[in-house]
Amino acid sequence: MVYYLKICLKKGWGYPLHKFDVNSVVMYMVAGVIILFVIAQSVFFLARAWRRAKEIGFDVAKLRRVVTSSALFTIAPAVSILLGVIALSKFLGLPLPWLRLSVVGALTYEMPAALSAAKAMGTSVTQTVIDPQAYSTIAWVMTLGIIPGLIIIPIWLKKIQGGVIKIVSKDKRWGEIIMSALFLGMISAFLGLVFANVHEGLIGWVPVFIMAVSVLLMLVLGTLCKKYKIAWLENYALPFSMLLSMAASIPVTNWVQLLGGAS
C-alpha cells in the first residue's frame, strides 16, 4: 500500500496535471468514485431486498445463509476476474481495467474490446500505452461497446417483467417450465463449451473430467443434505463443489500431462 502511495505521489501529483500516465492518481480517483457508486447501489438494493424478504416471511438465518453462500460462491470467479485486470494492466495500466471489470464489463468482453481499439490505432498490446489519444480511444470503445444493456433496461425492463408475471399468472405450470427452460438453455451452452477441446486428445478432456468431478461432488453433497437433513449445507453445496473441483483440476491436469509426456 505504502509502495503504491509512493508510486502514485511520484507519478501523479509530482508532475503537471496534464502529463499522461496510465497509472496516474487522478485515474485511480475516477475509477474509485465510480466503483464506490456501484458499491452504494449494491448496498441500497441489498438493504431493500433484505427488508422485503423479512416482511414476506423469510427467516433471518436463511437469509444469512444466502449471503454467506453467495459470498463464498463469488470468490473463485472474482479472482479469475482479477486475473483479467492483471492481464489488461500490462497494456492499459491498472485504473482503467479495474474500473471496466468492476462495472458493467465482463472478461469475455473487455479483452476483445481493448484489442479491437488498439488494432484500429495501430498500437501494440504488448507494451503499456504511452499515447493519450490511443488510451482515450480505447476507453471510449470499451465503454460504448457494451452500453446497450444500460439503455435498454431502464426503458424495457418493466415491460419484460410485466410479460413474465403475465405468463406465470396465466398458466402457472407453463410459467415454471419456461423459467427452467431459460436456465437450461443457458447452462447447455456452457456444458457444450466444456467439450470444445476434446479434439486435442487427453488434455482436451480435462475440463470434461472436472465437470464429472463437480457433478459427483454435487450429488454426494445433495445426498448428504437429504439423508442427514443438513439444511445449511444446501446453500453451500454449489460453492463447495465448485471450489473442490477447481482444486481437483490441479492434480488431474498434472497426471494427464504426465501421461501425455510418458506416451
Binding site: 479469475s80 482515450s136 476507453a139 444493456g149 470444445a196 476434446v198 454449489l238
Partner: protein, 225 residues
C-alpha cells in the same frame, strides 16, 4: 400485506423500477464520464476514423449480445436483480449462476416475489464481494501477482467453467431432464464439431435458450411434462 406467492405486490415492484431506473441512469452517466474525463483531462479526444474502426470490431457482436442478454437474463434475475446485475456486470459467469444457486437453495421460484428478493440479495452480495476482491487485488498487486499467476494454480482458474456449470447443471437438469435433453445434446455436438465457437459462447446462450423453450413447448403441448 396479503398476496399470493406468485404475484409481486405492485408497490414493491413499482418502487424497484423507480429506484432501479434512477440508479441505472446515474450509473450510465458516470460510466460515460470516465472516458469524457480522460479526453478532457489529457486533451486527447479520439479521432473519428480510428474510433469508428475500433467500434466496428466490437459493436456488431457485443451490442447484439447485450440486447439478447437483457431478454434472456432479466426474467431469471427479477427486477431488483436485473437493475443491479446489469450495472455490476460479469453476468454469465458469476451473477446469474449465483442468483440461480440462491433461489434453488431456498426454493424460491424465479418470477415470484420470493425469487426477486433472493436474487437481488445474492447479486448484491456477489457484487460487493467481487468489487472488494478486485480492489484488494489492485492495491496488493505486487504481492498477489506471483501467487495468482503461478503455474501451479493455473489449471484451477482454467477450469472454473466446468467446475461451476457441472454442479449447477446437475441440479437443474435432474429436475427437468426432458427439457434439458435437446439443448444439451445440440450444444455439445456443436462445440465438438466446431471448436472455434468457444469465443462465441455468449451468442450461443440465446440459441440454447430458444432450443430449450421450443423443446419445452412441444413436450408441454404433448402432455409429456
Amino acid at each position: 400485506m396479503k398476496h399470493t406467492p406468485n404475484q409481486i405486490p405492485r408497490s414493491y415492484l413499482d418502487k424497484t423500477h423507480t429506484y432501479g431506473r434512477i440508479w441505472m441512469v446515474t450509473a450510465l452517466a458516470l460510466l460515460l464520464l470516465a472516458p469524457t474525463f480522460i479526453s478532457v483531462y489529457y486533451d486527447a479526444w479520439p479521432r473519428l476514423g480510428e474510433f469508428a474502426k475500433g467500434m466496428l470490431g466490437v459493436a456488431p457482436i457485443f451490442w447484439v449480445v447485450a440486447v439478447i442478454e437483457v431478454f434472456t437474463y432479466a426474467p431469471m434475475l427479477g427486477a431488483g436483480g436485473s437493475y443491479l446485475g446489469f450495472v455490476t456486470g460479469n453476468l454469465t459467469s458469476l451473477k446469474v449462476p449465483c442468483a440461480i444457486n440462491a433461489m434453488e437453495a431456498v426454493k424460491a421460484k424465479p418470477g415470484s416475489e420470493e425469487g426477486d428478493v433472493i436474487s437481488t440479495i445474492a447479486i448484491a452480495v456477489s457484487s460487493i464481494v467481487t468489487t472488494v476482491i478486485i480492489a484488494l487485488g489492485v492495491f496488493l498487486l505486487a504481492q498477489l501477482t506471483p501467487i495468482l499467476q503461478s503455474e501451479a494454480l493455473k489449471p484451477a482458474f482454467d477450469n472454473i467453467v466446468p467446475s461451476l456449470f457441472g454442479a449447477l447443471g446437475v441440479v437443474l437438469i435432474s429436475k427437468n431432464w426432458k427439457v434439458a435433453l435437446a439443448p444439451v445434446v445440440v450444444m455439445t455436438v456443436l462445440f465438438i464439431l466446431i471448436p472455434s465457437l468457444t469465443s462465441s459462447v455468449s451468442v450461443l446462450v440465446p440459441v440454447g435458450v430458444l432450443i430449450a423453450i421450443g423443446a419445452a413447448r412441444i413436450l408441454y403441448k404433448k402432455g409429456w411434462l
